[in-house]
């Protein structure tokens, strides 16, 4: 019984399609082969996990590098919207004493909800409109201020042009729960945007072996944070070795390397 549970957990390493097609068959073979000894079972379960991760990597690489980069831009939009909502939620907004800010948060949350469910094109158009309405764009916007919206605008345009083709799923709205918690923590100054992005980036790095998209997305959002940091630090002087700049550089270099390897292995 315990072996069957371990085997079922190991089969989870495979993508859903593969699990549905031959998950039970692979589980049966693992249990058959594992009857010889405990070590044989451990070896078989380990091979299942490795095989599953290999298959996930191949599955991710199949659509090609351009699609992976477009997916990364779409993920970056979701992270960017998340951080924007968190930063917009101030104590005034929570207590309701700041009307326009509440409207902004509600609009951003609606756009994020659209993106999460799968209405990505609508979310991207809404995101562009929100950037114009609530963002730093204006008649007197300076070049240095413009740089911090270039990456989000680029990602939103990619999202309009090439949204992810995934089934619509309202369960993804659960992402709004941690967003709400983090926003509440941020409102009480317990957690900052770099910390939130750092946690997401760790997830991106953990997924990197099989899927570099989240890491690329985090790298793009780190660029936005760096641009924000530069805009705020211009009078005091800017250091090239601050946290967002280093994080953006590292994430993008590592993820680009991984993308390159995946492209080569997919071609082979």
């Amino acid at each position: 019984m315990i072996r069957e549970r371990i085997g079922k957990a190991a089969v989870l390493a495979y993508p859903r399609e593969a699990r549905q097609a031959r998950g039970l068959e692979m589980l049966g073979m693992t249990l058959d082969a594992g009857e010889q000894s405990s070590w044989a079972f451990v070896r078989e379960a380990g091979s299942l996990v490795l095989g599953g991760l290999r298959e996930r990597r191949a599955f991710t690489a199949r659509p090609g590098t351009r699609r992976l980069l477009a997916d990364s831009c779409c993920q970056a939009v979701v992270i960017f919207l998340t951080l924007w909502i968190i930063s917009a939620l101030s104590p005034e907004a929570i207590t309701g004493s700041s009307g326009p800010l509440v409207v902004q948060v509600v609009v951003l949350a609606a756009i994020l909800a659209c993106a999460l469910i799968g209405y990505e094109r609508i979310a991207a158009v809404g995101g562009l409109a929100a950037l114009i309405a609530f963002g730093p764009l204006g008649a007197h916007t300076q070049l240095v201020g413009l740089t911090r919206v270039l990456v989000p605008i680029g990602c939103l345009l990619v999202m309009v042009h090439a949204p992810r083709k995934r089934p619509r799923d309202p369960r993804r709205l659960l992402w709004l729960v941690p967003v709400g918690v983090l926003a509440a923590l941020h409102a009480h100054a317990d957690v900052g945007l770099p910390e939130v992005l750092a946690v997401i980036s760790i997830g991106g790095l953990l997924l990197l072996l099989q899927d570099p998209r989240l890491a690329v997305a985090c790298g793009l959002v780190w660029i936005v944070l760096e641009a924000n940091h530069v805009v705020r630090s211009v009078p005091a002087g800017v250091s090239l070795l601050d946290v967002p700049a280093v994080a953006a550089g590292l994430m993008l270099i590592i993820a680009a390397g991984r993308l390159w390897i995946m492209r080569d292995s997919a071609a082979a």
Binding site: E25, G28, M29, A33, R43, L50, R54, E55
Partner: protein, 109 residues
Amino acid sequence: MELRPPSYFALAALIDGPLHGYAIAQRARELSDGQARLSTGTLYALLDRALSESLVTAGEPYIEGGRQRRDYTLTPAGRALLAEEAARLAHAARAVSGRLRATTKAVLT
């Protein structure tokens, strides 16, 4: 197309008739004198590739001993590829052993 030893022995296991996954792994081990040890992850990756290249076909799933199984059958294309690979390996083996015999005689004399 050149077959690597695990794929070669996995396909060769199906020469005598359809087998399910675990039986393929056991038969491949027998045929290779214990050299080809196909784990579940490796075998199903090989079978997946062989299915996509129409070298084998998969039957309907069935339950045996409380476990789900599915039999795989070698297709004529798989058989032809296996024959081609066996001929290539035999030729390579003949060429090398011929040279080894010739040079061994020369060394001894």
